[in-house]
Symmetry: C2
Subunit: 464 residues, 2 copies
Amino acid sequence: MRGDAGSASPGTRMKQILVLGAGKSAPCLIHDLLDGAAAGRWRLTVADLDPRAAEEAVGGRPGGRATAFDIHDPLQIRREFAGADLVVSMLAPAFQGPVAEACLEHGCHLVTVSYTDARLRALHDRAGERGLLFLGELGLDPGIDLMSAAQMLRRIRGEGGRVRAFRSYGGGVPAPESIDNPFRYAITWNPGNIARAGAAGALYREGGRTLAVPAHRVFEHTWPVEVAGLGRMEAYPNRDSLEYLSTFHLEDVGTMIRATLRWPGFAETWQPLVRLGLTDDRLRLPGLQGRCWRELTEMFLPPTTAGADLPARLACLLGLSPTGGILERLAWLGLFSERPLDPDAHTAAAQLTRLLVDKLVLAPGARDLVTLVHEFEVEDPAGGRYRHEATLVQRGEAGGFTAMARTVGLPAAIAARLILEERITCRGVAIPVLPEIYEPILAELAAVGIAFEEAVHPLPADRG
Amino acid sequence: MRGDAGSASPGTRMKQILVLGAGKSAPCLIHDLLDGAAAGRWRLTVADLDPRAAEEAVGGRPGGRATAFDIHDPLQIRREFAGADLVVSMLAPAFQGPVAEACLEHGCHLVTVSYTDARLRALHDRAGERGLLFLGELGLDPGIDLMSAAQMLRRIRGEGGRVRAFRSYGGGVPAPESIDNPFRYAITWNPGNIARAGAAGALYREGGRTLAVPAHRVFEHTWPVEVAGLGRMEAYPNRDSLEYLSTFHLEDVGTMIRATLRWPGFAETWQPLVRLGLTDDRLRLPGLQGRCWRELTEMFLPPTTAGADLPARLACLLGLSPTGGILERLAWLGLFSERPLDPDAHTAAAQLTRLLVDKLVLAPGARDLVTLVHEFEVEDPAGGRYRHEATLVQRGEAGGFTAMARTVGLPAAIAARLILEERITCRGVAIPVLPEIYEPILAELAAVGIAFEEAVHPLPADRG
């Protein structure tokens, strides 16, 4: 059966795949899995809170079915999970636990594109006992970054190299020719996550020092990075980089950094939103009905007796130039405007998300770009020191899939297929740093043009 | 049976009270309930993770029993809750949900001194159906503040007054003659809560405006308050004041503020700890074994190439004078010291808590002080405007109970007794803003000298 287990031979029940979520990152995943469904290799159900989004994603193609789905409804969970062999979840990270528990109950494998959380990891033994694989972190970042780093590390070690430093960068931004707003940014993934970026703070190691960055200082804590073929970008530290020390067996490394890339100037404009409190998702703000953005911004300014105008008072509070570019960009976003608030959004973060979704749009015909960069500093057996660099740059197709949808969706789609075909056979909870998982997936990605450019540069012997 | 239901008459099973937690705020509560146990009115069990703390609290008095107790152990929950009629929980707020669920399962009334949370409130109907009362917010603040405010409001309204503004302040600090550290503060309650102060951010209303303060700006957002008999203190906003608008039927009021009081200068010294990240309880810091405080502080400073010393770099990062009083106080606390870190504390907040417990001690023989201040701006039926003020100041007894232990513990002890005596008969989840609850408790508190001084001042007619 190997390599063919997913096909429907006579007497074999056809396999069922359930995709949860038909949002921004999902269309390429669904398109790829629909190809297999149309070829009679499995049946595919696409489930979304919004049934029209699911229908649009399926587009009436053979072997595909769209359905309305609410993860909070136990009856709907039973209905959709009971017949499924494998679930691909594109839902927000908060739903990872409930989805995994439903998979365990109904005996489905699971593939997700989000960071694995404690609730998912706690199911390792029980998933293994039921013969199930719960494979997380299988999108772009986390996903392709982890797979490519694991593959590079294996090769470096195979050549006797010792890693002294590992820096890994990733980001999704508009392509240079498609930048058309002063944030130099466009939303190409789950908008609900954008206001929460940095909210967990960050940890990393550099030159032997552990660095901790609390949530309210993440966007103050940036440095420039030169990306081959793209030029200078800015980096801010991404969550807990140190969790990956053990993943990659790099406990003794002096530098370990995972960071997010944006076009320069994003962070200096975003940090005032954080400082002011507009990314807060805990305070439930009352009485927003019938109010406008100017009034929301006003809520976050200390009381004042002076009659200065709102932008000037905000500039004064945060130490910004009242006539500078940062304040101009915040005005462009709409912080001081009469734009009505969304009556269904009850926190500042939720209101900000609505605003960003409207303002930071990838225009029709515009192209996005994703990039991943790995830098390993390596000592070879003879004592020579080298920097191994690998760079992935992918551009979206104007009018087609975004680079984000392609690079988040394809790894998950390939993994789903490999699991059904029993070419990935490990069980329990895993992330894709095992050769059994990453080798076939990276090979298939390379075959469709998603591959890294690599380079090796000698380093001066005294560099730390 | 009314008024006598707790006593052990022949043929009546003696009532059982279970107190969870024998920490800083608990000794007066336990002492008071032990008086009732010694008089044969009920039996008392004091349960703490640390059995010695429980034994010390019971002190071998008749009718009392001490036991080791871990809220995470279902067997221990069953053993202690099964025979109890009423549980008083002094545990940290995080355990409120599990304690309440155990009370529901085993049919015990519950009294807590913490803010009620969503998990507790969700049990309202089920507690009511089982004939149980889960009474939260029954300490000092929340507790005496709510009861006294509800009583004042009822009287003001009975006289036809309309409330235009309500400001309520509370705090526990060292008495002026007992201030002996540069923070002018001493820990007299659950130390685990101190590093989390402000972590939920704050919401309030002033002059018709809603003000939102994110967590990282709460200690920047202070104002002076004159307290009768004590002089000037500083106030910072306490959590979500607007939750109490409906509690007190004050939806139309122009100003609604609940705030915390400290001696002036506390906030300017605390805010740099927040800014730096030392109050963060989310990032799990690795490799703290064998390290010292200087190294922990270093983790939160951005990388630097310059060789400037640690205090100067911290001052530079946070915009503090490198030779000023704030930096001097942070040095006094130990941020730049060789003091060893606690190997069992895994977040900055946990390490900071250990440091504060050692440094901000109420010295033997020193006295603490708690204060509550209510200010109501009231319009009377004739259109006259008045400020109704009520001030409670309580000092601890040198060598006896702290004012904090007395004012947190006595309301809960009195409530426990009134519930067992069936003099409080409401059911479900409640906070003490019903006359049935607050009238007898405030009367008993007044009888032992815990009472407010009141004053009424006319206001100019044009004051808003």
